[in-house]
Symmetry: C2
Subunit: 376 residues, 2 copies
Amino acid sequence: MDTRTGLPVVGMVGGGQLARMTHQAAIALGQSLRVLAVSPEDGAALVAADVQIGRHDDLAALREFAKGCDVVTFDHEHVPGELIRALAAEGHTLLPGADALQYAQNKRLMREHLGAKGFPMPRWTAGDAKAFGDEVGWPIIVKTATGGYDGRGVFVADSPADIPDGVEIVAEELVPLRRELAAVVARSPLGQVAAYPIVETVQENGICVEVLAPAPGLDEDLAVQAQRLAIDIATGLGVVGVLAVELFETTDGRLLINELAMRPHNSAHWTIEGARTSQFEQHLRAVLDYPMGDTRLTAPAVVMANVLGGEPGGMSIDERLHHLFAEEPGAKVHLYGKQVRPGRKIGHVTVLGDDMDDCRRRARRAAQILEEGYQH
Amino acid sequence: MDTRTGLPVVGMVGGGQLARMTHQAAIALGQSLRVLAVSPEDGAALVAADVQIGRHDDLAALREFAKGCDVVTFDHEHVPGELIRALAAEGHTLLPGADALQYAQNKRLMREHLGAKGFPMPRWTAGDAKAFGDEVGWPIIVKTATGGYDGRGVFVADSPADIPDGVEIVAEELVPLRRELAAVVARSPLGQVAAYPIVETVQENGICVEVLAPAPGLDEDLAVQAQRLAIDIATGLGVVGVLAVELFETTDGRLLINELAMRPHNSAHWTIEGARTSQFEQHLRAVLDYPMGDTRLTAPAVVMANVLGGEPGGMSIDERLHHLFAEEPGAKVHLYGKQVRPGRKIGHVTVLGDDMDDCRRRARRAAQILEEGYQH
């Protein structure tokens, strides 16, 4: 407990933008998020009062960090399960726990487990990818079983020659897609689950560039089915905190599970302004064992556009903000305090309104001004 | 400039809840607010990464703080004008400037200046309060000219015996009130002014306990007149940042100016969730010279209720949060990290909805749970 405030202390391992935005939400709850960052220049380390510098795969650093935390949670999936188990065995509370988190850390485990439970997913194999490709037809999707994120560790294999050696992979059939969706829920230790409206996630080159909330024109039955699926997974795996289930909507109207994340997720950044309770507050409420918050939309249409780093040079980010705010006074900007590198997510923009197409146009334009500077 | 982010550095003098909530808003803009706090246990000092400890009336501390800030702004009105002028003369940018801020610091100066410009206000005097009371009729309102806040330094004098000696005061006629209103605007250095909808502020024992946005049943002409008045004051005084104009609506339907504040203000805390741009973001945008943000409401009815510290003992604040969130999943809580003292503002709660009376009931109930613990 923080004796200054009388409130429990939440620690987050990892100092990226998720921890940065969780700290923002923590402030309202009377909290000050404790952050374990790799570098003092990590996005969350720039803004949080209570920062320790250390690696997420260093047991001594984690142990030191967990001291004085009432609960430890995660900004990413890269803390090795055995370290989480070691700390739990020493009496620390880590949420989500290693038993749940393993399914977000290992794509093979997730597929084996959810497949055995009958959850729908594309045909896949952890075995002979070349034989699998010959069977289901090339091209196929190949993913490293662990360590990938933001499209890294995922590629399309056109032929057996594209299958890598010496790394644990899962191979998956290429599914005829209508689009990608995400079902985001949060679950408390008591088992209360709150579900956000289903969103559409728009990808370019394997990176999410836009999220549309609610998913436009989504069949009501399919929306309920998607929420149900995420609730069942959260409950079945005993997740505590936010669970994002990335989904495929196939051209023949089925839902298939793509990937899981057990932390605040890019597909729900829109909730900061677009839902009554943001995913960051919801994650904190879950790990603090508070009742979940209202997940309703605050506007008929909400669009989030990611801001990717552009080529170096040109207008400063400060000048870009001037132009953006002049053009879109209602665009909500979130910058992550990151050095700009081409293709790196450096922030996002959210636009709310009555018309999805209009919000989309405005959000894309706002993101573009931040990415490229102002051009008529 | 912060070389890590390429963005200008904003410093705020004072480490209270306004700085705390401004830091929250700063994070989204890629900023990390620099805070000058009196104590490391001040609300903002508990959550900001970049905190200096020092007094707001100590020139050396202010000078050290201003170094490396691109702009310095204020969490309160207690920085002496001569210190602001001294720093400005040394080349620092302080917003609002001393010329504007003096009218929020000194109630006599404000009345002289705005009165001379023809702005409407109750009859008042800085001269002989006893003679004034005899003239306008007792009781009258007496205010210390400087240093008051949150109802401190303001009282009702029933007779000449109640008039204090040896302190600079202004005396004011007691106006027949329908209610109190607030007009909040923000102005950029370029002169762009953005106005929030006019709100009703509900007072108990001289302390604001609730804010209703928009002010229920307010005549449209009067609302426009109130906005106009605040815009004219902001422009006339050259305010940069948020300006709150506290107003009386008289029983005969006139608007009279009560007080000014030149900083984010309690009467606009509802904007965090209730407006497209919060007053804290708006204040930052103003002092950073960014174009102002959209001030529209996000729901038809928004109510903010202040949370005052109750008697010591009873349920912990953590337990109270459990009960509150169970009863009102949509209530937005803001705790300021303060030690609880009876009557001290320790946070606020905002409720959004379609019906003002319903929002009011829910906001009061939520605040009450935090103040008193859960009682059926």
